[in-house]
């Protein structure tokens, strides 16, 4: 049995998650990088910053990069999801800055997912 305080806490937790997800504006691409302990150890901070580098160094508008919690595939970290406007999320695993560059060029700019890095 959960107390009122527990329920309020869960509601607050969901609210903050929804806020982050709902922050995506129409026509905006959203990149989520898994930032659990497993991800951080595997290089998620470098992957997050590689997305920032690749997006900021090109004239690309409407791309938002966010952290998210552990995505549940700890042995496949670093993991990121790319959500193009109106498209289903594409989840990539085993990322590094070189792969991020390729994903930005081919998927975010070119519109074609890089199938070889997609989580199997």
């Amino acid at each position: 049995m959960k107390s009122i305080a527990d329920i309020n806490a869960i509601r607050e937790q969901m609210r903050s998650k929804v806020l982050i997800r709902d922050n995506t504006k129409e026509g905006e691409t959203h990149v989520f990088v898994g930032m659990g302990t497993c991800g951080i150890q595997a290089g998620a901070v470098e992957v997050f910053n590689a997305f920032v580098d690749e997006i900021s160094s090109r004239v690309v508008k409407n791309v938002r990069i966010s952290r998210t919690g552990c995505l549940g595939d700890c042995d496949k970290e670093p993991i990121a999801e790319v959500v193009l406007p109106g498209a289903a999320p594409v989840r990539y695993a085993g990322l590094n800055p070189a792969k991020v560059k390729e994903i930005v060029e081919k998927h975010i700019l070119g519109g074609n997912a890089v199938t070889e890095y997609i989580v199997k």
Partner: protein
């Protein structure tokens, strides 16, 4: 693991504890760097951190175990305090690189407004303060990714000057 990555892990715990404010304090002392992260979240569940620190499987707190192990094996120390008003973690790490703290802080860019971060850093070379609430005033439009890059560069550069290490 570099200190900057422990910072990402600790602030992630604060996000999950629904903190509205996190204070990160770095100071050079006793041949190492003291790291303290304090938040006003709802703290850890009873016994959760202890289980993680003992190496048992726990949904959260594994990062704390890594920090404790690294701090103690470096000749430093680790302590934490958690109750319903928040959590404070303090570690002294000796001869552990500071890493890129700017890279670490921008990971929480989208949390601005939901959870604010204050960073204070002190060494014999000076004092530095950063607050996510002042990004718009000091660096430019937070919605512009170039502002994110500016903040990252500034924090990395300043903390490298204070604590040493590679600048980029």
């Amino acid at each position: 693991m570099e200190i900057s990555k422990h910072i990402v892990d600790l602030i992630t715990n604060s996000v999950e504890a629904l903190a509205k404010h996190v204070l990160v304090m770095l100071s050079a002392e006793e041949g190492g760097v003291s790291l303290e992260v304090a938040d006003d979240g709802m703290g850890a569940k009873e016994g959760e951190v202890e289980r993680a620190l003992r190496g048992e499987k726990a949904p959260r707190g594994n990062g704390l175990r890594l920090l404790k192990e690294q701090a103690e094996s470096s000749g430093g120390s680790f302590e934490y305090l958690s109750d319903e008003k928040g959590m404070t973690v303090r570690a002294l790490l000796k001869n552990v690189p500071i890493g890129k703290v700017g890279d670490a802080l921008i990971v929480f860019w989208q949390e601005r407004g939901i959870m604010d971060i204050t960073l204070s850093a002190t060494s014999e070379k000076g004092v530095y303060c950063f607050d996510t609430r002042l990004i718009g005033e000091k660096y430019g439009d937070p919605a512009d990714i170039q502002t994110m890059v500016k903040v990252r560069k500034d924090v990395n550069y300043t903390l490298t000057n204070l604590f040493g290490g590679n600048k980029e």
